[in-house]
């Protein structure tokens, strides 16, 4: 319990640092958000009025203080571009990104488990090396390029899936596959390596001697221990998955948070930038926390760490 409170407090500190860094960076961007709000033809008086209304005429600490004060009360502010509340905009885009992230994570785990289990018994042999080279090739392809190639063949030539947008399961299939397979191949390599180490341990020989079949040996006895490093990476790598999300959303015109954040950076829409970064960082922090807790459940040895 004390551990949990400590972890939660630390998660809050990380998020606070994230707001601080983001605010600093955004403040340094050479550009005038008031100009973005008012449009290119606004006169000086209008600009000054908008600056005052948005609080842009105050100092950086004052602006940051105001932002934090509102944040503490759950107010994320309003978008500079369309005056909509940031919280509502985030809520509108979150389901699309969450669906994409969850679907690709599921695909990645399936690919990772299947790939790792299927190649582990062949460690060091030709099949293993062929699998390694194939997975390195997949890992080396830019995810957005992989997406466009898939879109060309599956979407345009064979007309199996729509060419972009969101809404149905068929829309989800291709982006989730593109994002999931690349990540899954990476998981498969990790699982392969840790399975290979586990397979040499004494308890595996003991199980084999007791007459445990090869499939059960691998999928139950070995996997239980070999899955631990994979679990850590899934948590740690969540931020990397978010990178892929931004690129994949761009390729497939997926109306999610990645696109929202990217467009906001280009448009200097500070409240939206702050909101998306904060949400993204919160995602990563929460995932890491959950993985840490899971780790303790799966491996009793580190329960009292």
């Amino acid at each position: 319990m004390r551990y949990l409170i400590g972890r939660l407090a630390w998660a809050l500190v990380i998020l606070l640092c994230a707001t601080w860094i983001t605010f600093g960076i955004v403040f340094l961007v050479p550009g005038d958000p008031a100009r973005v709000v008012a449009g290119p033809r606004a006169d000086a008086a209008t600009l000054a009025a908008i600056r005052h209304e948005l609080g842009l005429d105050r100092s950086l600490p004052a602006q940051y203080g105001r932002y934090l004060w509102r944040l503490a009360r759950g107010d994320l502010g309003r978008s500079y571009a369309n005056r909509q509340p940031v919280a509502a905009t985030l809520a509108r885009c979150l389901p699309a990104t969450a669906t994409l992230a969850a679907a690709s994570l599921a695909i990645a785990l399936v690919v990772g488990l299947a790939g790792g289990l299927a190649t582990a018994p062949f460690a060091g042999r030709f099949v293993d090396r062929a699998a390694l080279v194939c997975s390195l090739a997949i890992l080396s392809a830019p995810v957005f390029w992989f997406g466009m190639i898939a879109l060309y063949w599956l979407g345009f030539r064979w007309r199996l899936v729509p060419l972009g947008g969101a809404g149905t399961l068929r829309h989800l299939l291709l982006p989730a596959l593109v994002l999931g397979v690349g990540t899954g191949v990476y998981y498969a390599r990790l699982l392969h390596t840790s399975l290979r180490d586990v397979l040499t341990l004494d308890y595996m020989r003991a199980a084999r001697a007791r007459g445990v079949g090869p499939v059960r040996l691998l999928a139950v006895h070995a996997l239980r221990n070999a899955a631990l490093p994979l679990l850590t990476i899934v948590g740690l790598d969540f931020a990397a998955l978010m990178n892929g999300v931004v690129l994949t959303e761009t390729v497939f015109h997926w109306p999610g948070l990645g696109r929202l954040a990217f467009d906001a950076v280009l448009a200097l829409d500070v409240p939206i930038i702050m909101g998306t970064v904060l949400l993204g960082a919160a995602f990563v922090v929460v995932t890491n926390l959950v993985v840490d807790l899971l780790y303790r459940i799966v491996d009793p040895r580190i329960r009292l760490g």
Partner: protein, 272 residues
């Protein structure tokens, strides 16, 4: 495992890398046309691969092969320099944290945690907006968002090295911290650093391609592979070769460094 089986990977990777470096150096001399000038007879639409434009021409009538060859130089340069920036920041932070331990370690690793919580690509986009797009900005930005992994690995190595006898002996003899780190710790981390450097280069090349694809990489008219893919994305239905070739080029370059990294890592584990 049979010794030496995986070392083939390292050899193949090094050979692929050498070819890439050769192309990057000689590319502009090998390119048949000016990469930024319209050379195709029909300028309005892309033309498919075939003589005399072996990889076709793009929507502005420019020769794709020439653009690819010129792009090799800038893409490899960005990848390598950004890798050096990444490695420098990561090694400095990792060594300091691991060698000194205690409060320094806690503070630096907490900083790393904060950086890890950021969606790196978005941070890079924001940083590019702050510093304005240029080749130098790209070097620094990629380094600033990708050092965390290096720092973690170097820290854990330094952490175990600082308790080793030769380090303790050097300290007992009165060597300064700077000297111990430079003469005793760093050389022992070096083999790991080489493998991470290769892996990190494949990462920086991919990140650079991603930034270019989002339209905020090295600014035009320099032909970069990432931007070639981005420009081709509008024509992917009528001219798929426009995106296919630069994508394959990125894949080739990243694969070369990945093979070297895996080959080195494998040699490291089987040697122990």
């Amino acid at each position: 495992m049979i010794p030496g089986t995986r070392h083939g990977l390292l050899g193949v990777g090094l050979a692929m890398g050498a070819l890439l470096v050769a192309i990057a150096i000689m590319g502009p001399a090998l390119a048949p046309y000016d990469p930024t000038a319209p050379v195709a007879p029909r300028l309005a639409e892309p033309s498919p691969p075939g003589a005399p434009f072996w990889l076709g021409t793009d929507d502005l009538g420019r020769d794709v092969l020439s653009r690819l060859l010129h792009g090799a130089r800038i893409s490899l340069l960005v990848g390598l320099v950004a890798m050096v920036v990444t490695m420098t920041i990561g090694t400095a932070i990792g060594l300091t944290a691991g060698y000194f331990g205690g409060v320094v370690d806690v503070l630096l690793m907490r900083l790393t945690d904060v950086m890890l919580a950021f969606p790196g690509l978005l941070l890079a986009v924001a940083l590019v907006a702050v510093m304005r797009p240029s080749v130098w900005t790209i070097f620094v930005v990629i380094g600033l968002v990708s050092w965390t992994g290096v720092a973690r690995v170097v820290r854990s190595e330094a952490l175990s090295l600082r308790e080793r006898d030769f380090v303790l002996a050097a300290r007992a003899l009165g060597a300064s911290h700077a000297r111990i780190v430079a003469r005793h710790v760093l050389p022992n981390v070096a083999p790991t650093l080489v493998a991470i450097a290769a892996l990190s280069t494949s990462g920086t090349i991919l990140l650079d391609a991603g930034l270019s694809f989002l339209g905020i990489g090295v600014p035009p008219p320099t032909p970069t592979w990432g931007r070639m893919i981005q420009e081709a994305s509008a024509y992917y239905r009528v001219a798929p070769w426009l995106m296919a070739f630069p994508g394959l080029a990125v894949l080739y370059a990243v694969l070369a460094f990945n093979l070297v990294a895996y080959g080195l890592a494998d040699r490291g584990t089987s040697a122990r």
